[in-house]
């Protein structure tokens, strides 16, 4: 996959999306708050636009109406001809593509920040595309340095060779914020405040970039998915056990071969049979039961991120 080019112009068109999943409450309430108090999203060189990504799902307090919106921004959906039977989220994805894209075009928004919650104990997780996404990685680094007490972990989600299908992919650049644990349909004050502060710092970073700051090279540690593990199931496809107490809440901790991963309803433990350590994330995420995912296995990598030079100021117009 080719590197995302570092922006060479200031970022002017920035959006912050909440309610991509209609029961992940922090982003929903933040967007509602910003629609009433837009000043919080303003910076000297740009203003971010708040977007309620999935209004129908939000109104029903459900993840989605017909299909997961955050899996619907692939070109098969965006570019196919609209029909009256289209799932709600397909129509909505096309609308968002018009608003924030079009995907892969010069008119797309410069940056989209997408706000999510998880029932998994993932703390503060920053979701970027890949190790080539220099701008987003410098942003992650900035967040990590500003909030050392949060232990922000970076997850690189885009699988190479596959087309992206998430909301961020509509814009030229983007980042996902995934904060947990929080139950679906619940708004926790601590997580809400944390997300609000993180968004403010993201916008501060973009402002610093726009003002011509240089960002030096650094070494980054991040996690990249290498597979998923489903729950143990009966022949009928129902759960036969659940995440083992020793694995529950241990997101980003190493899982060694032989460690217990599931506890069957009849009492036995199932052990991890992989050949090497993995780092599980999204452990026991409610929305992933139907996707056949009890946890996502990741590998930990360390790599260099090159310096991001300061924007060269545009020549001033002749007076």
């Amino acid at each position: 996959m080719c590197s995302l080019p570092v922006p060479r112009e200031p970022l002017r068109r920035v959006a912050v999306a909440g309610g991509t999943h209609g029961n992940e409450m922090s982003g929903i309430y933040l967007v509602r708050h910003w629609l009433l108090t837009p000043a919080e999203l303003q910076r000297p060189s740009f203003s971010a636009v708040p977007v309620l990504a999935n209004p129908a799902a939000t109104a029903a307090c459900r993840r989605y109406v017909d299909r997961d919106l955050n899996r619907t921004f692939a070109s098969t959906f965006l570019n196919s001809r609209p029909t009256p039977d289209d799932p709600y989220e397909v129509t909505r994805a096309r609308e968002l593509n018009q608003l924030l894209g079009p995907k892969a075009s010069g008119q797309a928004f410069d940056f989209v920040l997408d706000l999510h919650n998880t029932t998994a104990n993932m703390g503060t997780c920053l979701i970027a595309d890949s190790s080539h996404d220099v701008f987003a990685l410098h942003l992650c680094r900035h967040l990590q340095l500003q909030y050392p007490e949060l232990s922000c972990q970076v997850l690189l989600y885009q699988r190479s060779g596959e087309e992206s299908h998430n909301l961020n992919s509509v814009a030229k650049n983007g980042l996902g914020l995934e904060l947990g644990p929080q139950p679906q349909g619940v708004l926790r004050a601590d997580i809400f405040s944390r997300m609000s502060a993180l968004v403010a710092t993201v916008l501060d970073f973009i402002e610093l970039f726009n003002q011509g700051t240089t960002f030096p090279a650094f070494e980054m540690e991040a996690y990249r998915p290498v597979g998923v593990m489903d729950f143990p199931r009966t022949e009928a496809g129902n759960l036969a056990g659940t995440v083992h107490p020793q694995l529950q809440d241990q997101d980003f901790q190493p899982l060694q071969p032989g460690d217990p991963i599931f506890q069957m309803f009849s009492g036995e433990d199932l052990l991890y049979e992989g050949e090497s350590a993995v780092y599980p994330v999204f452990i026991n995420e409610a929305a992933y039961y139907e996707k056949g995912v009890a946890f996502v296995q990741t590998e930990k990598l360390t790599f260099s991120v090159p310096a991001m030079p300061a924007l060269t100021p545009a020549p001033s117009p002749a007076s």
Binding site: P181, P183, G185, V186, A189, T242, F265, A286, A287, Y289
Partner: protein, 313 residues
């Protein structure tokens, strides 16, 4: 000297309900497991029937299809003329009343345990509907003692207007079992283990009782519902303040006038008014946003039960 006790009829028919709310998974999976392998819940001389009360909601992993099944077991709903136009849960309530009731009749089940989860940090909770029920107070005392040092709280929902018509209320002895915190749609092993233990001790109590054991008079501490408190809302009815971090996860702990209760979306603290200490429960329960309940205020009191013994011995 013979002890003075209340003679109670032996317990014959017990049911364990799961899936009354289809996204409260512990009860769903315990009942499904026991339907395949019920050894764990059998006791000599006792019929214990596990049962999924809201299968359509369970299939969709949602709280309910048309209306909350756990609020409609009143005589008016149970007596409505059966028709396809009735909400799914009302039709289902009538079926359940037919199978395990009828409510207020001699034929109804002796005990129904209804298994629930909450997103609130309530730990192991037993729900009592009648403060003068000696048998259930004795059972709850037994369960609490057996679970110790794991805390187990008793929530008393006896109240002239706030008591609701639960699924289990069709039994002579209704028992609510509520364990949290657990997100909707998630099955946690630790919560499963706690609920399993509560049922085990409950069934052991019934077995000991049927075998003739005398339970001497006892007292238990309970938390009685006083009032429900909604979120502060704006003119459009949208939530304008959320549970304050100091109150979040502090179910059952004393809350004094002046203590923070809500935090507005722009950062202001709203304190508890009034002049008495309360004990909040169901703090930030996901399903109660639409019922306009941020938490319920309870008052702590002690209930006493007379000594009881099975009348057959």
């Amino acid at each position: 000297m013979t002890s003075c006790h209340i003679a109670e009829e032996p317990i014959k028919k017990v049911a364990i309900f799961g899936g009354t709310h289809g996204n409260e998974l512990t009860g769903v999976f315990l009942v499904k497991h026991w339907l395949k392998n019920g050894a764990e819940i059998q006791r000599t001389g006792l019929e214990v029937k596990p049962f999924i009360t809201n299968p359509r909601a369970v299939k969709k992993c949602t709280r309910y299809i048309d209306c909350d099944l756990n609020r409609i077991f009143d005589l008016e709903n149970l007596g409505k003329k059966m028709s396809e136009d009735l909400p799914y849960e009302v039709r289902r309530a009538q079926e359940i009343n037919h199978l395990f009731g009828p409510k207020n009749s001699e034929d109804s089940y002796d005990i129904i345990f209804d298994l629930h989860n909450t997103t609130s940090n309530m730990g192991c909770t037993l729900i009592l509907e009648d403060s003068r029920n000696n048998f259930l107070i004795q059972m709850f005392h037994y369960i609490k003692t057996s679970l110790a040092p794991l805390p187990c709280y008793v929530y008393l929902i006896e109240h002239p207007s706030l008591k609701y018509a639960t699924t289990r209320s069709i039994a002579k002895y209704p028992v609510g079992i509520e364990v949290g915190p657990q997100p909707q749609g998630v099955l946690r092993a630790d919560i499963l283990d706690q609920m399993r233990k509560m049922i085990k001790h409950a069934l052991d109590f019934i077995h000991h009782f049927n075998e003739g054991k005398e339970f001497p008079s006892c007292t238990i501490e309970v938390y009685k519902i006083m009032e429900k408190v909604d979120y502060p809302r704006n003119e459009n009815g949208e939530i304008a303040a959320i549970i304050h971090p100091n109150l979040q996860d502090q179910d059952w702990k004393p809350l004094h006038p002046g203590d923070p209760v809500f935090l507005t979306l722009d950062g202001k603290t709203i304190p508890l008014g009034g002049d008495c200490t309360v004990h909040p429960v169901f703090v930030n329960e996901a399903a109660y946003y639409e019922k306009k309940e941020a938490f319920a205020k309870t008052t702590k009191l002690t209930l006493q039960a007379e000594s009881i013994r099975c009348s057959l011995h």
